[in-house]
């Protein structure tokens, strides 16, 4: 497996094949005397922003904390990865996870207040 070609930037699919973001980051855990292992896959606006600008990432994280959206990016332990390929399937209930934090926030605070949103 190639981590950049086969995992990074791939579509994350939760249970029921629900889209839940892309693999925006991969956290490798360094261990003395043993090969590094993939600890987590990360997804979230701040993770992606960090690839462009650290300041932008910090601003997004601060905004998310201030508005009570979430306390940092979502980390998915490698043990929850079911499949890799063109998509990365993970054993996560997407809609109830923090990957949908912004979706829930915007739905409750904005979209559902507009007539016709639920029909």
């Amino acid at each position: 497996m190639h981590l950049v070609r086969d995992v990074l930037d791939k579509q994350l699919l939760g249970n029921d094949e629900e889209r839940m973001g892309k693999v925006d980051g991969i956290v490798l855990s360094l261990r003395d005397g043993r090969p590094p292992r993939v600890a987590f896959l990360e997804t979230g606006a701040s993770v992606l922003a960090r690839r462009v600008s650290r300041r932008l990432a910090e601003a997004i994280e601060a905004l998310e904390r201030r508005w009570g959206i979430r306390q940092g990016p979502m980390r998915i332990p490698w043990e929850r990865v079911r499949t890799t390929g063109t998509d990365v399937g993970v054993d996560v209930d997407a809609r109830n996870s923090s990957a949908f934090a912004w979706e829930r926030f915007l739905r409750e605070r904005v979209v559902e207040k507009i007539p016709g949103a639920k029909e």
Binding site: M1, H2, L3, V4, R5, L8, D24, G25, I26, V27, L28, S29, L30, R31, D32, R34, P35, P36, R37, V38, A39, E42, V47, R50, R51, W78, E79, V81
Partner: protein, 131 residues
């Protein structure tokens, strides 16, 4: 135990023991080991980038002699902004080099074919050989 963010170190220059740049980190090979996924090689240089982007075109452009595969223990991550080799450049594999044979006296491990039809073909040949 510490951690590094792969997406942030991708593209960073890797330095040799003499402080000179060897190439850029472009890809990481890993393999599943039970529930874990462990790093086996760090791929450095333009051939690794081409391998990631466009395998068919690779044949036209050729693999650069200045692209290397470093084993998991051949990179020091004390400073993630400046990863350094823990060995000499001459000890690294070029993308096709027989480094395994050099260091351990063993033959290089066969790569698991990633395409399903090739795996099935291999399985059929094994079964035929076993009968």
């Amino acid at each position: 135990m510490s951690e590094i963010h792969l997406e942030l170190v991708l593209g960073r220059r890797v330095f040799g023991r003499d402080g000179r740049a060897v190439g850029r980190l472009e890809e990481v090979r890993a393999e599943r080991d039970g529930d874990e996924c462990v790093v086996t090689d760090w791929l450095i240089g333009p051939a690794a980038l081409l391998e990631r982007w466009a395998a068919p075109i690779l044949g036209i452009l050729g693999r650069s002699g200045r692209s290397y595969a470093a084993a998991w223990d051949q990179l020091d991550w004390s400073d993630p902004r400046r990863p350094r080799l823990t060995c000499g450049v001459e000890e690294l594999r070029t993308m096709r080099g027989p480094r395994w044979k050099q260091k351990t006296g063993q033959a290089p491990p066969k790569e698991q074919p990633e395409r399903r039809h090739e795996r099935e073909e291999q399985q059929r040949k094994k079964e035929k050989g076993g009968k």
